[in-house]
């Protein structure tokens, strides 16, 4: 006789599956990076309690299906080394993953080894994990190292896109225009060639850093400061899938985290109290209150740097 | 140490328009200069360009300049009395003594006529110094023909053959590629005849081949090369082919040497 509180089960990172009494455990890996030693744990769970398979999720985690619901406490105990190793915020040891509303903070590899990454996405993902988890509100956050957006930050409620402000040393520029041509072809055409040197149009520049990568003489280098573009309220789904739009360009890391935390307060204020299982998706809340109200809450006590540009209005 | 990059200024004495984009500028100049040599001509703040000497006269050199870029475009806006900056002459140029007393054939394609014009001028004025003198000239179309006046004058003393790739209405002269006319040239003694070929790379390649086919010896064939140059003095590297700097060692080459110049 199973008498299972499905809401608690879901909040404990298990899922209700098609098969009665069977669950799948979700292993969230913030930022997608992990030591392979934890693979043994996953292997053991899948072989001992599951059906021997694992699904790699699009948010960079694992799902081990075919687990009897009655084994959930055992699984939670087995997960502890992973939870410790990944430094997951947990409510109590041995109780498994504590959240399901806010999704895994996913991240491309970022500057860990990708040439295009403008910052350490894995670290930022973990920092955000520390700041917001566990949380039941339905918020999707992803961090990506550059505007190539391999993580598909534009399909998230918060997409954090790494930027660098390219620094130009005209003395080192030989006018090969590698940067200019590349920027036009692959980015936004923010570079012009004038008087045999390059002029950057800051308003067009997306901070991808491709000019730095392409420059054969080191005339372009990265800014000491790291910048972030925060894009918001993208979503897939049945109702009206849409791409996230630019909220702030040239933001700093601290502000980005603060804005996310502020947004959770905004959610508490405005969420539809009638929403099924308190699961109103943040995007729909913003649809209801309008962007200006969201902005007001999001930017509360945020000290944006002098370069930051906040969107006056957003039409999704 | 002399600064070889410093240009001198030179007054424009005369401007003659040949085509929409080809003008000849007669520039004030006194000094040694040979046909086939070139100057680096510049307008400060616009840039420099290597330009062949097309005519050498008393107190002047003439430069035929095609409007193909920023600098030449600007030069075309100049008026008589304005000043251009120049440095040079650079390069080896043609050694007229080599050709004297020989059957001489000059084949020039398009603007390639400019660097050899000095040679032709010389022998047209002194036809007696050559055993014979043939000049074959090819242009894309009638409206591209350069030095029409000179050509008319030349025809009085030497053999001239003018052809265009594509005729247009009203044109009644020869048509077809210059290579077709190589066979028409009368050559008495192929072993000793001297041939000068100047023009676009492809024209030079096939025209030289035609002359070789006619039995002309490689060592009696001369070509002049055009390459990108920034300095004219063997530094900038753009004109180098193999171990040869066109600016220093050319632009005029005997074909025995030129045939090894693979870009």
């Amino acid at each position: 006789m199973l008498d299972i509180n499905t809401k608690q089960l879901k909040k404990n990172a298990f899922r209700i599956t098609k098969e009665r009494g069977k669950t799948a455990v979700r292993i969230r890996v913030p930022g997608g990076n992990m030591h392979v030693k934890f693979f043994s744990v996953i292997q053991e769970i899948a072989e001992k309690y599951g059906n021997g398979t694992v699904h790699i999720t699009t948010r960079q985690g694992f799902e081990i299906p075919g687990i009897d619901m009655k084994n959930m406490p055992d699984i939670n105990k087995m997960l502890q080394p992973i939870i410790d190793g990944l430094e997951i915020n947990q409510e109590a040891p041995g109780c498994g993953y504590p959240a399901s509303g806010t999704r895994n903070i996913s991240a491309c590899v970022g500057n860990a080894y990708c040439p295009y990454g403008n910052y350490n996405t894995g670290e930022l993902a973990k920092k955000i994990e520390k700041a917001v988890f566990p949380h039941d509100r339905h918020v999707k956050i992803a961090v990506t190292g550059c505007p190539n957006d391999c993580i598909k930050a534009r399909m998230q409620d918060f997409g954090i896109i790494g930027m660098t402000e390219p620094q130009y040393d005209p003395y080192r520029c030989v006018g090969c225009q590698a940067c200019v041509k590349n920027c036009k072809k692959r980015a936004t055409g923010a570079l012009k060639f004038e008087n045999f040197k390059v002029v950057r149009d800051h308003s067009k520049c997306i901070g991808c850093g491709e000019c730095v990568i392409k420059c054969p003489t080191g005339a372009w280098t990265r800014s000491e400061e790291k910048y972030y573009k925060l894009v918001i309220m993208g979503r897939t789904g049945k109702k009206n899938p849409r791409i996230a739009q630019d909220f702030i360009k040239w933001a700093d890391e601290e502000s980005v985290i603060k804005i996310i935390l502020n947004t959770y307060e905004y959610i508490e204020e405005y969420i539809d109290k009638e929403a099924y299982q308190g699961k109103e998706h943040i995007g729909y809340i913003v649809d209801r209150t309008g962007y200006q109200e969201f902005k007001k809450w999001a930017l509360k006590d945020v000290n944006l740097g002098p370069k930051a540009e906040v969107a006056q209005t957003i039409n999704w | 140490m002399e600064n070889v990059y410093i240009p001198f200024s030179s007054r424009i004495l005369e401007i003659k328009q040949h085509t929409d984009i080809d003008y000849t500028f007669k520039m004030e100049y006194r000094g040694e200069v040979k046909p086939g040599q070139f100057f680096e001509v510049s307008i400060p703040k616009y840039g420099e360009a290597p330009i062949s000497v097309c005519e050498i006269g008393d107190g002047y050199v003439a430069l035929t300049i095609r409007r193909v870029g920023v600098v030449t475009n600007e030069i075309h806006n100049m008026k008589v009395g304005d000043r251009l900056f120049m440095r040079g002459p650079y390069g080896n140029g043609f050694d007229i003594d080599i050709y004297k007393g020989k059957e001489i054939i000059v084949a020039a394609g398009g603007t390639g006529l400019a660097p050899v014009k000095g040679i032709v001028d010389y022998f047209a004025s002194h036809p007696e110094e050559a055993k014979s003198f043939n000049v074959l000239m090819g242009f894309k179309s009638p409206k591209d023909i350069l030095f029409r006046e000179s050509i008319e004058n030349w025809s009085k003393t030497i053999q001239t053959t003018l052809t265009v790739d594509r005729a247009d209405e009203g044109y009644t002269g020869n048509t077809g590629l210059i290579t077709n006319y190589v066979k028409t040239v009368e050559i008495e003694n192929a072993d000793e005849a001297q041939v000068i070929v100047v023009g676009p790379p492809i024209m030079m390649k096939f025209t030289v081949q035609e002359f070789i086919n006619r039995g002309i010896k490689e060592e009696n064939i001369w070509v002049s090369y055009e390459r990108k140059m920034c300095c004219g003095v063997g530094k900038c590297g753009h004109c180098k082919i193999d171990d040869t700097y066109i600016c220093l060692d050319g632009p005029v080459f005997n074909f025995t040497q030129a045939k090894h110049l693979v870009d």
Binding site: G175 | S9, R227, D263
Partner: protein, 333 residues
Amino acid sequence: MGFRMDVERFDELLTELQKNYRIYAPVLLKGKGRYSETDTIRYAEINSIKDVVFDKKSVFSPKEVILPITQTLFYFTEDNVIEPKVDEKNILIFLRSCDIHAVKRLDEIYLRNRFADSYYAALRTKVKFVLMECEKSFENCFCVSMGSNRTDEYDLFVRLEDGKVYVESKNETFDGLFKDEENAEVSPKFVLENETVVKIPENLDQRVFKSKMWDEYDERCIACGRCNFVCGTCACFTMQDIFYKDNPNAGERRRVWASCMVDGFTDMAGGHSFRKKYGERMRFKVMHKVYDFNKRFGYHMCVGCGRCDDICPEYISFANAVNKLNDAMKEVE
């Protein structure tokens, strides 16, 4: 003559030297590498021996000290042509044996080859070399193959070891500077072996142009020019004339480094250009470094510093290309 002193003492002498010298050495530029959070090593003026990076190869060679990347040749003000002032100070460059050899190549082009270049000469005559030794061969070095692993054409030799600075002076100019320092036996060690060995075929000539070996580079090379720009011997430049945006009556003529690998190097005003295929450019470069320079000047241009191999984003090895010439010659013979 050899000397030994503390770092602090050496730095005092450096300060003394700075009265008459600009002192250049490879330094670490934090975060200025191509990729995020990567560093780079480039030549810059130093104020302390601690600024000098001894244990790694610089990305760019010291050539930029005497052959600036961008160099103004004249200023134009309306109709006047004005040459820039030359800095009064002399120049000390910390550099390695291969780089000293490389400067000799630059000298060949810029001081000889029919004309002398006054701009180069003006800087070059001010330069004195401070030799840095290579404790061991760096990755991709093949100086031994190119015979540039040793030199005695230096003015000073400096070694930093266990907090002490060892100096050998071969130029009497510095006699006064070091006269009070502790004497020591100091002489540079040279690398005698590289992991990378390059063998230039003895029968190498233009026949190799026909080899299929170049085709590979059509696909692999991206014609970025990095190999040229980091090279200590590449000497090409391009001219640029500009108006100042603030006053179009004034402007300048300048030159900047050029690369035979980069689009535009052979473009003529009329539109014609040569070596469109990247394999042809690779061939042109390789042959210049190990064949035609030698033909013209009697010794190879390449000094085997390996910087081209260090930098190539496509992992093309120049050294390996040279070695491939051996098979290529067999192919075309």
